[in-house]
């Protein structure tokens, strides 16, 4: 997994609440068996019309926004289906940070598995970032995971964010969960031994 330390980037504002994973990556694109190549389908039904042409009013089709690596959106971002194709699509499109007042649980977990940083900021701060970026396609902010801080160039916005220290550590160092857990393999084996002495797990 790619490590994340700090990022200075333009900001794409997606001023909607409850953006669900069916919108982030519609189901007709879930049939690929690879992890890559989903970016072209990101927000497909919002980005493209029936003929496959870009809809000019959608933010990620607009100059100044389509190359942004930071997406800012409303509360409960990533609700719905557990599909990890959602963070795969965002990352493949070039999004490394999503800022929102809250995230759905499974999507939130999935982001950390893929080096996409979900940043929770208070609703009013998020709204200000959305306003600034809507007014100015060149608006940029810096997200510093080490310092757990977000700021813009004029320092009109300076906001600290919280993150589980362990998750932050893994993101900063690009650590893979499976490798970490396999370091605890002896614990797993002894847990299994103990369980089997008490009747064990019912095999499937």
């Amino acid at each position: 997994m790619e490590a994340f330390k700090t990022l200075n980037s333009g900001v794409a504002p997606l001023n909607r609440v409850n953006v669900d994973t069916d919108q982030i990556i519609p189901k007709q694109f879930l049939k690929r068996v690879e992890r890559t190549g989903f970016g072209q389908f990101l927000f497909n039904d919002w980005r493209f019309d029936e003929k496959g042409n870009e809809k000019p009013d959608f933010v990620l089709n607009q100059d100044g926004y389509k190359d942004a690596s930071i997406l800012v959106s409303g509360r409960n971002f990533g609700c719905g289906s557990s599909r990890e194709h959602a963070p795969w699509a965002l990352q493949d499109f070039g999004i490394r940070v999503i800022i929102a007042p809250s995230f759905a649980d499974i999507f939130h977990n999935n982001c950390f598995q893929n080096g996409v940083l979900p940043v929770v900021l208070p609703e009013d701060v998020v709204q200000k970032i959305i306003e600034h970026s809507e007014n100015d396609p060149d608006y940029r902010i810096t997200v510093d995971l080490e310092a757990q801080r977000v700021w813009d160039e004029n320092e009109e916005i300076v906001a600290d964010f919280n993150m589980e220290p362990f998750r932050r550590h893994c993101m900063l160092n690009g650590l893979d969960d499976i490798g970490l857990t396999l370091e605890d393999e002896d614990d797993i084996t002894s847990y299994e031994r103990e369980r089997s002495e008490h009747g064990g797990v019912v095999p499937a």
Partner: protein, 468 residues
């Protein structure tokens, strides 16, 4: 020991390793796998030279991509076929039990888990699918995970998890006739909102929950995720044990009695505290219909479509306006006046034998309106056979419903069963997101009874005073 909730008891017995500030390493008793969220996980194992740690605790099934047409007909979508082939190849290579499209026991993963007795009280159950919460109906801790986590469970039989909070959702009193488990859960989501239970495991309690069948409890737990919950659960009781008795993979004879004695201890202790408590009155619940583009946009059948300007929050106003625009509905119109084109009875929410019986009761002796195409998709081949033994298939077909093979079908439009742009569907599934059942399709979530009655009338009706 301090009194504990059911969730805490299950959590505690599955802790492999717990360190301050780090996610707990939690043991997984049952890992269910399907074709859409697993190929990249198996591929990850292969690349790292890892194996599946406990093939005996892992079960795979093909359900999302499988057409529900005649099994002798080929799959026409080459990419779907590739994903199904990939699952077969992976299960073969890694030694995982697979129910493929042709297995007599095939069905939707969340239907066959309980049906085949894999789902049991006290277990930790995961699947790369958000509706894994269904299995919590048996008093299991069951949750949906992403594909990286699927790979993690395959390799280690554990999951790294921060402990969620707990929420009691108590539904007091009795449900009125015509008000179903689906209406209970839609009512709950309408009350707490689609992010209302984020970070929490819900335990459903109260008289209205206790009197539900296992099928009804599964319907309620299934949609826990639609309120944002990590999982939903119901304490096991006599209803649970009767459902389980004699099923494949469930202990038999005295072992069953021993298991029941242990399962009876699982319930939340007197005096245990939940982080949040929500209370609903069953007697106030009516049949529900969703009108918008998420399951929280829901109202009783007797209500009218909301008026965006009446919402205080500007974000809410905007999303309601956007939803009504997508759904092509007029603010203030009566829900009963919404005309439909399609009816879908099926999905991991409402495709079990109880659901089919309830819908058949409405359909019997009636005819599907000529403006409507209606289909019934059993949740599993076993349910299909049982329904056919009971003659339900004939009732449906005589009424003009299409009777299909088992699968996820039109719940998510990953197989040939999809809505066309602009089509409006009364659906017993779980999500009414934009394009969920097909790009441009419009979904209204309802109970099987409400869906069947809407098929006959061509628009929504209140099943409580509908006589066909």
């Amino acid at each position: 020991m301090a009194p504990r909730t059911m969730f805490e008891k299950i959590w505690d017995t599955h802790v492999v390793k717990s360190e301050e500030g780090k996610p707990t390493v939690l043991y997984v008793d049952l890992h269910l796998v399907h074709e859409v969220t697993s190929p990249q996980a198996f591929d990850g194992l292969r690349m790292a030279g890892r194996s599946v740690r406990r093939t005996d605790l892992t079960v795979a099934v093909a359900d999302h991509n499988t057409p529900t047409w005649d099994l002798s007909l080929p799959i026409t979508d080459p990419i779907a076929q590739q994903q199904l082939d990939e699952l077969s190849k992976n299960c073969d290579e890694f030694g995982v039990t697979l129910y493929d499209r042709f297995s007599p026991l095939q069905g939707i993963v969340h239907v066959i888990g309980p049906e085949q007795g894999y789902t049991q009280p006290g277990k930790t159950i995961v699947c790369g699918d958000s509706h894994t919460s269904t299995h919590g109906a048996f008093g299991a801790f069951a949750m949906g995970i992403g594909t990286s986590e699927v790979e993690h469970v395959l390799a280690t039989q554990t999951l790294r998890q921060f402990k969620p909070k707990t929420m009691e959702v108590r539904v007091d009193g009795k449900l009125s006739p015509g008000v179903t488990a689906k209406d209970v859960v839609l009512g709950i989501i309408g009350k707490i909102g689609i992010g209302g239970a984020t970070g929490h495991v819900i335990e459903y309690t109260g008289e209205a929950i206790r009197t539900l069948s296992m099928e009804g409890r599964m319907t309620v737990c299934n949609m826990s995720i639609e309120a944002g919950a990590r999982a939903g659960m119901v304490a096991p009781d006599a209803t649970t044990f009767e459902y389980m008795r004699g099923r494949e993979n469930v202990p038999k004879g005295t072992d069953f009695d021993k298991a029941v004695a242990a399962w009876e201890e699982l319930g939340t202790d007197e005096g245990a505290q939940y982080d949040q408590v929500v209370v609903l009155d069953a007697e106030e619940l009516e049949p529900h219909v969703t009108w918008g583009t998420n399951p929280g946009m829901v109202a009783p059948i007797t209500a009218r479509i909301p008026i965006p300007q009446e919402y205080e929050d500007s974000g809410e106003q905007e999303s309601v306006t956007r939803a009504l625009d997508y759904m092509d509905l007029e603010p203030g119109m009566r829900i009963e006046d919404i005309e439909i084109d399609r009816v879908f009875i099926g999905s991991c929410t409402n495709s079990r034998i109880d659901d089919l019986r309830a819908a058949a009761k409405i359909a019997e002796g009636n005819k599907v309106d000529e403006s409507v195409y209606a289909m019934v998709v059993p949740g599993s081949n076993a349910i299909k056979r049982q329904a056919e033994d009971e003659g339900l298939d004939k009732i449906f077909m005589q009424a003009g419903f299409d009777w299909r093979e088992a699968g996820c079908s039109m719940c998510l439009g990953m197989n040939p069963d999809i809505l066309k742009p602009g089509e409006r569907c009364a659906s017993t599934s779980n999500r009414n997101f934009e394009g969920r059942q097909g790009k441009g399709g419009r979904t209204h979530l309802v109970s099987p009874e409400m869906a069947a009655a809407a098929a006959i009338e061509g628009h929504f009706v209140d099943v409580r005073d509908w006589r066909g």
